[in-house]
């Protein structure tokens, strides 16, 4: 047996120690990286996740093979924006015994019925909830659609505004077959808005109406140029600011620049839910 000096032995042991530590740290690093990747891909919260028990107990899961629970909030613009898709599900589900539709609705319980009627939504069960109570269970936002089996176990989940691909995924999970064109042509959740131009605004003012032009673009775009007298409320601030800064009796003229699409729908729905009924859209894409 060859002789090994004490210093070489110590060095060798040190090397083995360092390599072991390196392997452990690499494993730890890779694990943390993978968890982070998974999290960023799915954004699924902790208890609102596939494989976990659904955190609200008072729902009877045995009434159907599976239940689609949709968590909505009355002040949430994306929730209103997704309403046509929920209607499509409601109208096309093959069998209630197979899939029940339940909504957990945040906001004022007294306004729940009016809110759902306004969106023309009909569910098998509506349960007012405090979203604050659901947050500890990992609910990060609304809308959230959760598919739960007859044992109360979450089998799938979708959060936020749904892309066409995600909508197809939801329909597949519910075994609902609709023409793909139907998804592309989902109707707006709000009635069509009347257009108005500057002459029309002037005419309303002359008739004694108070007209408020609300510029929904971000502050940078608004600062660059805007219609004289227009009030800047970026779309993501509208839910909070509208009831504080706008008058229900006024004619509200919305302006969202060159990329209006969903912005007008979301803004109109949000304002409409808060009692603003005299809504128009400015007939120009440039201020």
């Amino acid at each position: 047996m060859p002789e090994i000096s004490v210093s070489k032995l110590v060095l060798r042991l040190l090397n083995i120690g360092i390599i072991t530590l390196a392997i452990l740290l690499t494993g730890l690093g890779v694990r943390r990286y993978r968890v982070a990747q998974l999290t960023s891909r799915s954004q699924l919260p902790a208890y609102f996740k596939a494989g976990a028990r659904f955190p609200v107990n008072e729902l009877d899961w045995t009434k159907s093979f599976q239940t689609l629970v949709i968590v909505l909030e009355q002040s949430c613009a994306i929730c209103s924006d997704n309403a046509p898709f929920y209607r499509l599900i409601e109208q096309n589900r093959p069998d209630r015994g197979r899939t029940r539709l339940v909504v957990l609705l945040g906001g004022d319980p007294d306004k729940a019925t009016a809110y759902l009627e306004n969106l023309q939504l009909s569910f098998d069960q509506v349960k007012p909830v405090s979203l604050r109570d659901l947050k500890p269970y990992g609910l990060v936002g609304t809308p959230t659609a959760v598919l739960v089996n007859d044992e109360g176990i979450v089998t799938n989940m979708w959060s936020g505004s749904l892309t066409e691909l995600q909508q197809s995924e939801v329909l597949r999970a519910l075994q609902i077959r609709v023409d793909s064109a139907a998804l592309k042509t989902l109707p707006s959740s709000t009635p069509p808005l009347d257009l108005i131009d500057e002459t029309g605004i002037q005419r309303l003012k002359e008739a004694g109406e108070t007209v408020m032009v609300v510029d929904l673009r971000d502050r940078g775009e608004y600062s660059a140029s805007h219609l004289a007298g227009a009030k800047n409320i970026p779309i993501d601030e509208l839910a909070v600011r509208a009831v504080n800064e706008l008058q229900i009796s006024d004619v509200i003229v919305l302006f969202a620049g060159e990329t209006p699409g969903k912005t007008y729908t979301a803004a109109a729905q949000m304002l409409s839910n808060n009692g603003f009924k005299r809504l128009r859209v400015l007939k120009t894409s440039k201020p």
């Binding site: 360092i18 390196a22 690499t26 982070a36 699924l44 947050k135 601030e237 600011r241 009831v243």
Partner: protein, 136 residues
Amino acid sequence: MSRPYLSLLLLLICFLSCVLAAGQTAKVVDVDEAGIRRSASKKILPAFPEGSRKRRSQGVAVVRLQYDGNGTVVSVDVLEAPDSEIGGAITNAVRNWTFKPSSIRGEPVNIRGKLTFYCVIDSKGIGRVQNPKQFR
């Protein structure tokens, strides 16, 4: 390269990968104002700055804030304010807000969102910074 150096190099690579992985977990989630306010465990409203009161500056103030997974505010930016003094007072107050810790799948997440305040001077000339109606 001798073995000790090679091992140290490996150790360094592992350390860097850990740092990178840790960086990946510092995810930022955008939350609406209702969500931000629901998560707040300590809210402080600023006193109306005397200079602003004398100038009769009033109106809406909006700040964007971000807090870390422990609920500690890490940044506050004024997006809109009646004047810079009010903006500064609100920033200082919001820096002292604390929030409930936030995590997704056990990993801490940073939360970002906006807060709106209304700065009003009443008929007696008293200035107040208020929360929006729905959060009073």
